[in-house]
């Protein structure tokens, strides 16, 4: 019976594009930031935050029309929403579904929070982080980024 309830009340179906589902609750706006989507860009985007998910949890969802994600974008999303699912929609149906995966190393993704780090200078040093169980470790200065990773994403 509840299946009959029109979903479009909250978010209307899209013909083609990407649905990023199971985003860590509260991270949807950071996902938009990673994708470079602001109020002034052209995409048609819907965002749902703190949607009930599973029996107890909450999640955010982002739906973008006519856009597929690049690998660098997915790598960044993985940092702040490790359980996200990327659904590619074609002709209104889910044509592809994949999880996100944090790579072992991140290049050019995160800015080192250490102001003294050589990667924060005019030197030709691209930001580079090693992904460890405790957080992201700067390849240059060994600084460990453990929290508020979203704030440091380039």
């Amino acid at each position: 019976m509840t299946d009959e309830r029109p979903q479009g009340l909250l978010i209307s179906p899209i013909r083609s594009g990407t649905v990023i589902d199971h985003i860590t609750a509260g991270q949807a706006l950071n996902v938009l930031r990673i994708l470079g989507i602001t109020g002034t860009t052209a995409e048609s985007v819907s965002v749902a935050t703190n949607v009930a998910s599973g029996l107890v949890g909450k999640k955010d969802i982002v739906k973008i029309e006519n856009r597929e994600l690049r690998k660098e974008e997915v790598d960044r999303i993985a940092l702040i929403a490790p359980n996200a699912t990327i659904n590619i929609i074609r002709e209104f149906v889910v044509a592809e579904k994949k999880g996100v995966e944090t790579p072992a190393e991140l290049s050019g993704v995160v800015r080192c929070p250490n102001p003294g780090c050589i990667s924060n200078t005019a030197e030709p040093a691209r930001s580079r982080f090693i992904v460890t169980p405790n957080g992201l470790r700067c390849h240059y200065c060994d600084w460990l980024v453990t929290k508020e990773i979203a704030e440091h994403i380039l």
Binding site: N114, G116, I118, H139, Y140, D142, W143
Partner: protein
């Protein structure tokens, strides 16, 4: 090509290799012509007379020659050249580079642009592996490093020598006691990393509480610049003064180390005690750096 950038890159076998080589060198079992015809480039973007001189001495004792970059003000750096470019150019002049730079990670960057080995001689608040190797060497001269109980005292927040020493000690199952003034404690990231490496750090608020249990007391300077005013500095500094009276409460075999220069944190009366090893420690810098130069160029 072998670079020496961070203690984190070295496993126990590599560290023991350097210490064994340094021991052979100290016993005069080395070839004084080993680096004949080799040129060492010494690039110090930050002054450090001692470290520079001990590398120059090490190179000379192995028959090699050092070229030292002049002051930064007179160099191409003053014209805005990047470190990466300087390193690429100097790589063509020398057989290895020793770098000291005010920025953390500078040596790692240099190693990516150099066509010769790079040895990190200190990068900002970051790593200074030759200091750690000579600290370990000095400990090993007095006792086995395995399971050693080390007290780290002083500015443990900004003091890079204590961070890399603690990392290295974790390879030897050492126990670490940390005594730091409020606000200058070991950074939590370092404590966590040490825990991952199997080393628990116990924090004490006063050195008196732990001194009787230590094999090694490693003292560092508390920098006046870290305090808002002279009074609060003196307050803290006076509470971290190592005196003969304090050492009387320690085990007789306990050794006192300090990366030098010291200011007020060790009473000069301590110098005459058999526990004081900090000047020997400084002298070992040459043997240890000879071992490092031999490793990368020999």
């Amino acid at each position: 090509m072998r670079h020496i950038i961070s203690i984190r890159d070295l496993d126990r076998a590599a560290i023991d290799g350097f210490l064994d080589a340094a021991a052979g060198i100290e016993a005069k079992r080395y070839d004084p012509e080993l680096l004949r015809g080799k040129i060492l480039g010494i690039l110090f973007f930050e002054p450090s007379t001692r470290t520079r001189m001990s590398f120059e001495s090490a190179m000379a004792r192995l028959g090699g020659v050092s070229l030292t970059m002049g002051s930064v003000e007179d160099s191409s750096v003053a014209k805005g050249e990047t470190l990466a470019d300087t390193i690429r150019v100097v790589s063509g002049y020398v057989d290895a580079i020793v770098l000291r730079h005010p920025r953390e990670g500078a040596a790692r960057l240099a190693s990516e642009f150099a066509s010769v080995p790079v040895i990190n001689a200190g990068d900002g608040a970051g790593q200074h592996p030759s200091q750690t190797l000579l600290d370990l060497y000095t400990i090993r001269k007095s006792m086995p490093i395995d399971g050693v109980r080390v007290g780290l005292l002083g500015d443990l927040r900004y003091g890079r020598t204590t961070h890399s020493l603690a990392m290295a000690l974790s390879l030897y199952g050492a126990e670490i006691a940390a005594v730091a003034p409020k606000g200058l404690e070991l950074p939590s990231g370092i404590v966590r990393e040490l825990a991952d490496r199997g080393t628990a750090v116990t924090e004490y608020s006063a050195i008196e509480d732990v001194i009787a249990h230590l094999d090694v007391l490693y003292v560092t300077r508390i920098q006046r610049e870290r305090f808002p005013d002279a009074a609060s500095y003196l307050d803290v500094a006076s509470s971290y003064r190592i005196t003969p009276e304090l050492i009387a409460r320690a085990r007789p075999e306990m050794i006192v180390l300090h990366p030098l220069p010291r200011v007020d944190e060790i009473d000069p009366r301590v110098d005459a005690l058999p526990n004081a090893k900090y000047f020997e420690q400084a002298h070992h810098g040459v043997s240890v750096r000879m071992a490092m130069l031999g490793e990368v160029m020999g």
